[in-house]
């Protein structure tokens, strides 16, 4: 059983813009899935169509095996959606926002109270439950959006940029919470601009560009496709003169930093050996970008060619 199945999905807006051009993908139940793409690629349109906020032009979508056209209401029963932009009533309390969403899903008042408390506590908002939404910080509002989407205890949670604009601490707390939910068997589908986030959290990934699906694979497979990974080395002293690193490509950076391209299959030991051979001391080392980011850029580059 797939949590989400999309078959040949297209969307043409009345303005004539074709936002989705025949996308097909499947997300297994219990997966942690990232939908990536540059701005305007069609990610939010895709999520809008899945959550029935946007009417598709053609194609089929099933959520937990239920076709959204044949079973429009049932297919949404197990779905939670966190929109990219805040859609919160600024005059309601944090508690009421989540509690009412439970009611809209058809939960009894008692069940809605239980779920509201559970998710407000899980997202560290319980102490702020009586504050009006307008009194909450941006990060709290973002977490409130997640609590609101989860209150129905759905099996599929879709998050459109769930950690946009939140501080590092909150982002990591949200990651932990999402991992916990995924550990309970919930399918999580997210879009994000933080590729580190997708790399840290997700097992599978799809990349959309210009309304087309250009990659749909596991994160590890995508990373394996990387031909070269770039590392930055902070040297004990600035480099003087030329450096021969046994055929490895390298470039100077500011100060005492150099970046070295390491082809797939090579180990870092080789770089360190070359540095030792040249009498160069290395203080620290880091990757230039997240590996997924490199894979993402590489996929987009191949698509554009």
């Amino acid at each position: 059983m797939f949590a989400l199945e999309i078959e040949d999905l297209t969307k043409v807006y009345p303005s004539g813009i074709q936002a989705l051009k025949g996308i097909s993908l499947r997300v297994p139940e219990g997966d942690f899935f990232a939908l990536l793409g540059p701005n305007g690629a069609g990610k939010s349109t895709c999520i809008g169509v899945i959550s029935s906020l946007i009417i598709k032009t053609s194609g089929c979508i099933s959520i937990s095996g239920l076709d959204i056209d044949a079973e429009p209401h049932l297919s949404r029963a197990g779905l939670g959606v966190v929109a990219q932009e805040f859609n919160l009533n600024m005059f309601e309390t944090a508690y009421d926002v989540v509690f009412r969403q439970g009611g809209y899903h058809g939960l009894s008042r008692r069940q809605s109270r239980i779920n509201t408390e559970r998710y407000l506590r899980a997202l560290q908002l319980w102490d702020r439950r009586d504050l009006k939404v307008r009194e909450l910080s941006g990060g709290m509002k973002r977490r409130l959006m997640v609590a609101k989407a989860m209150v129905n205890d759905g099996s599929v949670l879709i998050l459109d940029e769930p950690t946009a604009g939140v501080d590092v601490e909150t982002r990591h707390a949200t990651w932990d919470f999402l991992r916990e939910l995924n550990g309970e068997g919930k399918t999580i589908i997210l879009t994000t601009h933080y590729l580190e986030e997708a790399e840290q959290l997700c097992r599978d990934v799809a990349i959309i560009n210009n309304g087309e699906l250009i990659a749909n694979t596991s994160v590890s497979d995508l990373l394996h496709q990387l031909e070269v990974e770039t590392f930055i080395f902070d040297l004990a002293a600035p480099l003087e003169g030329e450096l021969r690193l046994g055929g490895l490509e390298w470039r100077r950076r500011e100060g005492s930093e150099v970046e070295v391209d390491l082809p797939q299959g090579e180990t870092l030991n080789r770089v360190f050996a070359e540095f030792s051979r040249c009498g160069i001391e290395v203080i620290s080392m880091r990757t230039r970008a997240s590996r997924l980011e490199e894979a993402f850029v590489s996929s987009l580059g191949e698509y554009q060619q």
Partner: protein, 257 residues
Amino acid sequence: MNRKTIWNSFCTLLLREIDRFMRIWIQTLVPPIITISLYFLIFGALIGPRIGTMGGFDYIQFMVPGLVIMSIISNTYANVSSSFFGMKFMRLIEDLLVTPTPNWVILCGFVAGGVVRGLMVGVLVMVTALFYTEVSIDNIGLTLAVGVLASVIFALAGFLNGLFANSFDDISVIPTFVLTPLIYLGGIFYSVDLLPDIWRNISYINPILYIVNAFRYGVLGISDIPVGTSIAALLVGVALLFSFSLWMLNRGTGIRQ
């Protein structure tokens, strides 16, 4: 969704609507009382005695049913159109659209919220009238039935207005340029029998006339129009507007891209 979950969704939406207009009661419940008090004071207590009787009642008593139904109509309409458009504007409607709640439940929830506000205002205006004149209700069942049917019709009309509206201006255009003239020319302040033939015949195409007269028949026992015709017109109006609203909702007009 089963019956219980549908009922839970409906109650949540209805309670949200009631909570909304009760939270801002100074804007929603008080103004109609002040406006209607002025009508009673100026047209009823000051000018009314010079007019004498109409349909066998003091002029101020003749006005009461019309002013009550006018308050019900305008408040019901305003409640649903502004609430629904407000939810669209703040994208709160998405919270409903992503749930399994059927569209007819969404429609009924908004309509019921408007009807509750309309009837609350109607009762408050009726109580206000008692400070100025004696009013005894001739047929309470008919009065209630007409009050509810009229508020349902205008709740549905307000819903459609909210559905099509793209800006806050759009939800004030219909009340200002269509609803208000129809209400004032709908026989609230006069009997259409007083009008010359041509204006009387033109008045018969005003739907508000049927509502005002049916309500007046319930309260005072007098009407310019056969009550059966008015009730039938109201029922047909409810059925047509409900079907049309639901069809538009199912199409996603105004709410889904």
